[in-house]
Amino acid sequence: MSIRHGLLALLERGQMYGYQLRAAFEESTGSTWPLNIGQVYTTLARLERDGLVRPLPENESGQRPYEITDAGRADLALWFATPISRADRPRDELSIKLALALTTPGVDVRSVVQTQRTATMRALQEFTRLKYTSDKPEDLPWRLVLDAMIFQTEAEVRWLDHCETSLVRHRPAPIRAVDQPEAVDQAGDEARR
């Protein structure tokens, strides 16, 4: 997702200045996606350039609030109406890393898998604990964000388990698989003789 649409969605609630946007963004994602104020201002500048928000006069404390424009509203509506394509998500570094680990000499793939599983499991514990302690009705948006992260981390652990099982079944490694057809051929030759 883009921070752009996050900020547009927040401005749809009403005008806000940079620090308010940052606080509101973090609150709606339960602080799981921390933003620095620089990212907020860079994004606001781009949104302004594209005509999706407009700056308002500074208030007496010197803060400049922004408001969403009609074009911004249309862009936001389109975002909500459009499913997120898998191709738009960042590439999965972990699967690429494991694929490379398999073909890089001297890398203990099982230990790469285990190190990742421990880290992912730890994240899953933290999300579960946060969910367990957020049981008030007004926590629902935040609980749903947590559920998404719980399901994603669970899927990652399951995939890692699957990788480990596949690794066990495929030892010793791919080099041998190349030899196998020859062995079959020889057996065939012998049978023919």
Partner: protein, 243 residues
């Protein structure tokens, strides 16, 4: 860490079945301390030694090496009778198959371990009702297992594991075939009991269930290969937030 503050301690525990070339090493030297207020999940593939570990921790099986200590008592030093008493009084088990007795009502099932231990029938019933209240089943206390749903039966099994003053709760895939919502409720109960001061060990292959633990240990081929750092509480996760 003071070694005696664990409710459960496994010290270099080994379990071998058979001998010589045919020997199967189910556990090859596992050390684990579980303290009061701590829930430890044990994960690992089939045959990694998870259930063996739980059976040894609960005194249902004896190690071939190393030591199992429950609340300061080394199980190896106990007579069969002493061990049976410790199991009835101190340890609660929640297993995949519930082992509820079909000829007894829910409250009788829960009261059974207390009565076997010499608690009077009336007192045992009161404690059993309290345990059933804890799992929101007090109204069904006089039903027989086959008059209850799978989820309700599982909660009876949990109540039986928690009844009285058990400080060590051992659970092996306690959510079994339950749907995910009911399964979550079962884990919630386990978590609550641990938060109230029990020590818990949860054997599971489901990452989402292990997520309820304070610490997750990974077994492979009878050896502990890794462990997540203990959760130190959620406050650090919430710092800097307006929540």
């Amino acid at each position: 860490m003071d070694p005696v503050d664990g409710v459960l301690e496994l010290r270099d525990v080994r379990r071998t079945h058979g001998a010589g070339a045919a020997a199967v090493h189910a556990l090859r030297g596992v050390s684990l301390t579980v303290r009061a207020g701590e829930l430890v999940a044990v994960m690992g593939p089939s045959g990694s030694g998870k259930s063996t570990l739980l059976a040894l921790a609960g005194g249902l099986d004896r190690p071939t090496g190393g030591e199992v200590v429950v609340e300061g008592e080394a199980l190896a030093g106990l007579s069969a009778r002493g061990l049976a008493r410790l199991r009835r009084r101190r340890i609660g088990y929640v297993f995949q198959d519930l082992n509820l007795l079909g000829s007894l009502t829910a409250v009788e099932n829960v009261a059974l371990p207390l009565e076997l231990d010499g608690t009077g029938a009336r007192a045992a019933r009161q404690l059993a009702l309290a345990a059933l209240r804890e799992v929101d089943l007090k109204d069904l206390a006089d039903r027989f297992p086959d008059q209850m749903s799978g989820g309700q039966q599982q909660r009876v099994a949990i109540a039986r594991a928690l009844v009285g003053e058990r400080r060590l709760v051992l659970a092996d895939e306690p959510t079994g075939a339950l749907d995910s919502q009911t399964g979550e409720a079962v884990l919630h109960l386990l978590r609550r009991r641990v938060d109230a001061g029990a020590a818990g060990v949860l054997v599971t292959h489901e990452a989402r269930h292990a997520g309820w633990a304070d610490r997750v240990v990974f077994l492979r081929d009878g050896v502990m290969v890794d462990s997540t750092a203990p959760l130190i509480g959620v406050e650090h996760l919430l710092s800097g937030s307006s929540r």
